[in-house]
Every structure is written in C-alpha cells, then in structure tokens.
C-alpha cells in the first residue's frame, strides 16, 4: 500500500512569487504529522494543494495513492478537512450541520441517521443536537467540525491550526477525541499548529517549513538533536530552523482571519 501522503518536488508559484518551492516528504498510514512554520512559510498553500483547493504548479502530490492534480474528485472522497476558522454554520442546529455533511459526502441514506447519532454520542453532544450551533462554546464548535469531517470515514484528516483560540481544557479535550479517532478508525492526521508543546506531545513526526522550503523533518527528539545544543526544546529547534528572523510574511487578510477566529472561539 502506498503512503497516505506522498509529495515529490511539489511547487506552487503565484506570478513571480514561489510560495512552495519543490518540497518532498511522505506521511505514513496512521501517523500523526505536525506541520510547522512561521506565517507565510507556505504551510497553508501546501495544505490547500493536498486538499484539492489549489492546483500545483509543478511536482506531484498524492493522497492515499491518488494524484491531487489529476484526480481531485477522487481525493475528496478519502479526506476530511477542518479549516482554521469556524466552518460550522451557526444558524443551523448541530444535527442539521452533521446531516448536511453526511449527505454531501454521500453517506448511504440507510446509514446517515446512525452515523450522525454516533458522532453526537462520540462528542458528548447528544443533548445539544437540536440547538443552534451559534450557542455553542469554542471547544464544542471544534468538536462539531471534527465530527463533520469524520462522517464519511476518511483515511486522512487535515486540520489547520485545530486548537488556535481554545482554552487548555478544550484543547486537551479536542486532542483526546482525535487520538480516539485514530485508535478506532486508523485515520492519519495531518495538522498545522503554532503550539510547540502540541506538536511535541501529539505528533509522531514534525516537519518545519520556512520560506517555501521544507527546513527539516523528523521526530521532535531528532529535531532537537539536530540543533546541536544540549537541552534544546522544540521551540529552540523551530527558531534554529526558521533562521531566527523577525516574522516578515503573513498577509493582512490571514492575520485578521486568525485573530477573528480566536476572538470568536475564545
């Protein structure tokens, strides 16, 4: 069986600007993979290519052995995606939000109700099934979104900064559910984050991107050793591999969006 994600010389250019510059890496089946990097390093662009929202300019990427450039429609059937910002509909109930996704993902009619119920049970949201999602707390919203992305039993889950703006209790709760999902369904998890402790505690391997290139990839332990400094933390490794320069990139829109998400989830 091929790796769940295989990326070779993947490149994305916008005019003269090279957002992703010929990166290559693989993610194994069942692996939890953390994707780090400063704002504007090319993380979001890479994720967008993997989840078929952007076409690569060069190179190849495949998910579950399916090429994202040539067969985006087939890739969509095997992935689940949780965007950074709030992506549940606040003006629909929890049940309606889940049912919408079950129908769009073509879960067979006979199984839909049961799957939605399972997700509600799994997330401990049974009592809130008929409440409008805009009344939910940040942690509940995130759990809902993960539930939505799991209804069709994807092989890999992409999460863009899944715990940004959550309090520590909600953060732990979200990860507890993600780990349970991996245990029950063997789903691989690919996530981006700015929290080093999260990458270290949850991920099997970590990749750090910088200025469109893959700076380093390995376990958190390996990355620390590579800095050559005894007692280095993952944060030290991050700074070491991203060149320690002041943050220069990340456009206004992205930052505004991140702040808005934090404001609403918090």
């Amino acid at each position: 069986m091929p790796n769940i994600i295989d990326v070779t010389n993947l490149t994305k250019r916008f005019g003269d600007f090279t957002a992703v510059d010929s990166i290559s890496f693989s993610v194994e089946r069942g692996e939890i993979f953390a994707f780090l990097g400063p704002n504007g390093a090319g993380k979001s662009t890479t994720i967008k290519m993997l989840i078929t929202l952007l076409k690569p300019t060069g190179g190849h990427a495949s998910v579950d052995g399916i090429d994202v450039g040539t067969h985006p429609g087939d890739v969509r059937n095997v992935i689940g995606y949780v965007p950074q910002s709030i992506s549940v509909d606040g003006t629909l109930t929890a049940y309606e939000n889940l049912m919408l996704m079950a129908r769009l993902y073509e879960v067979p009619r006979s199984e839909r109700k049961q799957r939605v119920q399972e997700v509600l049970d799994f997330l401990n949201l049974q009592e809130h099934a008929k409440s409008l999602v805009r009344t939910f707390s940040g942690g509940m919203i995130r759990k809902m979104e993960i539930g939505q992305a799991m209804l069709h039993r994807p092989r890999v889950l992409f999460l863009d900064e899944p715990t940004t703006g959550l309090d520590p209790v909600a953060r732990q709760n979200v990860w507890q559910h993600l780990l349970e999902l991996r245990k029950s369904f063997g789903v691989s998890i690919f996530f981006s984050t700015h929290y080093m402790e999260e990458a270290e505690s949850a991920a099997d391997r970590v990749a750090i991107m910088n200025q469109g290139k893959l700076a380093v990839i390995g376990t958190a332990g390996e990355l620390k050793v590579k800095t050559g400094k005894p007692g280095a933390s993952l944060e030290d490794a991050f700074i070491y591999f991203t060149g320690n320069q002041l943050e220069t990139a990340g456009n206004f829109r992205e930052i505004r969006r991140a702040r808005r998400t934090e404001g609403r989830l918090g």
Binding site: Q84, T91, L92, L104, E106
Partner: protein, 258 residues
C-alpha cells in the same frame, strides 16, 4: 455523465434545503426585506399615480409598477448573494464545501434556488400588500406558475452574476461598493417603473439588454395585462442567460478561496 447530472441536481437540492432551513430558524430578515417594496408601492407608487405623468398603456400606475417593484425586490436579494460566499470564505464554510465531493455547479445552483425561494417570499408579501392597496392583478393558477418560473430564473441569473463579482473582488468592502453601484442603474435602466418608450435612445438599448427588463416584461404580461405573446421569448432569454452564467460562475467562484 448521467451520475454527474444526478449528483448535481440532488446536491443542489440539499444545499438549497439547508439555506431554507436557515431562513426558517431566523425569519426576521424576510420581514425587514419586505419593507423596501412596501415603501416603493405605498409611497412612490401612490404619489406618482396621482400625477398621471407616465404613459402606462391604460393601466393604473400602481398596476404598472407592481411587477417592477416585485422584480426589484427579487433582484436586490439576489445581487447581494455573492456576499455570502465571501462571508463563507472568511469563516471557512466555503473551503469545507469545496473539499466535499460536490460538483461546483451544485454549489452555484444551491445558492440560486435559495435566492429564488427568498424572492418568492417577497412575492407573497407584495401580492398581499397589493390586495391592501386594491391594486387589480390578474392572478390565476397559470399566471402564478409563470411568476414562480420567472422569479426563480431571474433570481438565479443575478445570484450567478453576484458570485462572479465576488470571485473577482474577493473582499466584503469592495463587494458592497460594487453592489451599491450596480443595483441602482440596473433598476432605473429597465422598464420597471416607466416604459422603455419614454427613455432616450441610448438608454433604450441598455434597457433592452438588461435581464431585469425581461423579468418585468414577463411578470407584467402574467399579472397585469394578460398579454402572453412575448412570454416564451422572455423565459427563453432568462433561461439561456441563467444557464450561461451558472457555468461561468461554477468555474470562477472557487477562486475566491485563493
């Protein structure tokens, strides 16, 4: 090919259904939207019908503008629909929908249908208000069926146009600016509140390519004059325009996430 068409239709329905559910959870929007057409009919219409300055082919001025005001309220709902895809892009809902195995055309049609449903709710309010003002309308089962068809097609066309604009301008602020700029000319360069014949030549040309005029023309035939002779042509123009704009829109609006 068959499965693709089937998928597109069922998913358009699913998406439209969700939009309608949202509306039912919070119907205040429908009521506030109804205010504008009521003001147009109740104040502008009443005032101008006293002057009798505009040739209205033997009908009262209120009769004459009822289809125009109905069209206006449907178009104004639809023309701001692109704003929702920008808002959905900002929240992440759009990205999530684009990552599901849903044909792009279904995402466009889902919006078009829901704009049409909102437009129909406007029609109900306007018809009720017309009853209050004693405006005589020609209402039969068949004329109502025609009204539904024209509203759905017209709302579809302007929703598609709006989504195309949204995919080009990409931000709420710019979209609002453009929305404001195009709605008034669309309305005034049409046969909604006065006949095309009193316009200067150049404006007549604009009015004749304005899809809004075809909606007004069709609706006026259905509920005022009962003259159905131009109906097939009006519907054909709207249907073709809506189909073309659906395809362009399905191709363009996913770019709003980039």
């Amino acid at each position: 090919m068959f499965t693709y068409a089937y998928k597109t239709i069922t998913k358009s329905y699913i998406l439209a259904e969700m939009e309608v559910r949202k509306l039912l959870h919070d119907p205040t929007e429908l009521i506030s939207r109804a205010l504008q057409p009521i003001l147009w009919l109740g104040i502008f219409g009443e005032a101008l019908s006293k002057i009798r300055a505009i040739p209205t082919q033997g009908y009262t001025y209120l009769q004459f503008i009822t289809p125009g005001i109905l069209t206006q309220s449907v178009v104004f709902v639809a023309i701001f629909y692109g704003l929702y895809i920008i808002m959905d892009r900002d929240t992440g809902i759009l990205q999530k929908l684009l990552v599901t195995p849903t044909p792009r055309l279904a995402l466009v049609w889902g919006r078009m249908i829901s704009a049409g449903v909102r437009g129909l709710s406007q029609a109900i309010i306007i018809f009720l208000f017309a009853l209050v003002l004693h405006i005589q309308l020609h209402i039969t089962f068949w004329s109502l069926l025609g009204v539904v068809l024209i509203i759905m097609l017209g709302a579809g066309f302007f929703t598609g146009l709006s989504m195309i604009i949204a995919s080009i301008v990409k931000t709420r602020e710019r979209f609002m600016g453009i929305g404001q700029v195009i709605t008034q000319p669309l309305f005034f360069a049409s046969n909604a509140i006065y006949p095309v014949s009193i316009m200067p030549r150049w404006l007549q040309v604009v009015a004749n390519v304005n899809p809004l005029s075809y909606m007004v023309d069709g609706l006026r035939g259905l509920i005022v004059t009962g003259d159905m002779s131009k109906m097939p042509f009006d519907i054909l123009v709207l249907a073709v325009a809506t189909l073309i704009i659906s395809i362009v829109s399905a191709w363009m609006y996913p770019k709003v996430v980039i």
